[in-house]
Symmetry: C2
Subunit: 199 residues, 2 copies
């Protein structure tokens, strides 16, 4: 952030820019995400944009950061809520909340997960993975009887990456099979089958 907005109108300006950035990204895709276009979408001048963002990627970072933070919050909340549930029930609940969170802005997910040069997006996405993985590690470490896998940290790494990709690809590709209910069931089987597999 190049300059701190002091007045109310300048704070509103920053909001308009970020929102226009999000809309431009969704509507035109990443390769048409230009500062001139964002400014036009926001109904402001390119110069105004650069009063608050040092360069194009700084704006992009904020948009991406907001998206993944939102997804992260939802999943982490669901995971914390179900911390006392059994393994399969928790897997089901987390899978559903992840599907909800990804489905809430499917168009933006498509851009963020499939178009963005991942070097920028990956850091935020990795933060989501880390946050959920740490919660899962703590869960597994606190309940030794829930898993036969030797290392809770490794088991959490496996489960988080596997489930994340299944949910993302399902939301983006919308295959006929499995349908949503079936997918949640299969994810629960995948997780519980893995954790109870003798190690």
């Amino acid at each position: 952030m190049r300059k701190e907005p002091r007045q109310a109108r300048s704070r509103a300006m920053v909001e308009r820019i970020v929102e226009a950035g999000r809309r431009t990204l969704v509507a035109d895709g990443y390769d048409r995400f230009s500062t001139n276009r964002v400014a036009q979408t926001a109904g402001i001048s390119p110069g105004s944009l650069y009063q608050y963002f040092p360069d194009k990627t700084a704006l992009l970072d904020v948009v991406v950061e907001r998206y993944w933070d939102d997804v992260s919050d939802r999943v982490a909340a669901s995971l914390a809520d179900r911390i006392s549930d059994s393994g399969p029930a928790m897997a089901r609940a987390v899978a559903e909340s992840l599907l909800d969170a990804l489905d809430a802005d499917r168009a933006l997910l498509r851009v963020v997960a499939e178009e963005l040069p991942a070097r920028r997006s990956r850091q935020r996405r990795a933060a989501l993975e880390r946050r959920v993985r740490e919660l899962a590690t703590a869960y597994l470490a606190a309940r030794p009887d829930a898993s036969r896998r030797p290392s809770p940290a490794v088991a959490a790494w496996i489960v988080v990456l596997a489930v994340e990709n299944l949910a993302t690809r399902w939301v983006l590709d919308r295959p006929e099979r499995p349908d949503r209910e079936e997918l949640v069931e299969e994810i629960a089987a995948l997780v519980s089958g893995y954790l109870t597999s003798p190690g």
Copy 2:
């Protein structure tokens, strides 16, 4: 392909262009993948490039297609070789061949999987997934005792996407844990645990 190369030197030219495209992609990343730069890397003129490729994306497609076809061939061969093995043994063998294939050109994998606008790359990657998924579906359908999952097609979808992401992320992120041996073991447990989970 705009024009079919007839003489030997023009076929060599196409090869030089594709190879320069691959090298440029690896060295400079996707956003610096310009036709002028590829031509310079190949030591030829931009005009020559456009004698054989109608536009920039056509060249990019060939480079990406070669990469995924190579990975696809390796994994499919390994899967066909081990078609008579038991489930966990086959999962191990396929996981190893996939890790080998992805590790063989890690730098290009990074660009193809993390930087490329996925709409182009995805089609070829999806072809790999489909190819492996169909082999896995046939395997599961032919051996009802190998899986308790209700639908072989859905089970194959789940397994392929889960394993693909675990292998890709492991190769790109190279986490301390799990190490390679551990990863193969965990993938085998994930697959066999899932397939034997009551459905």
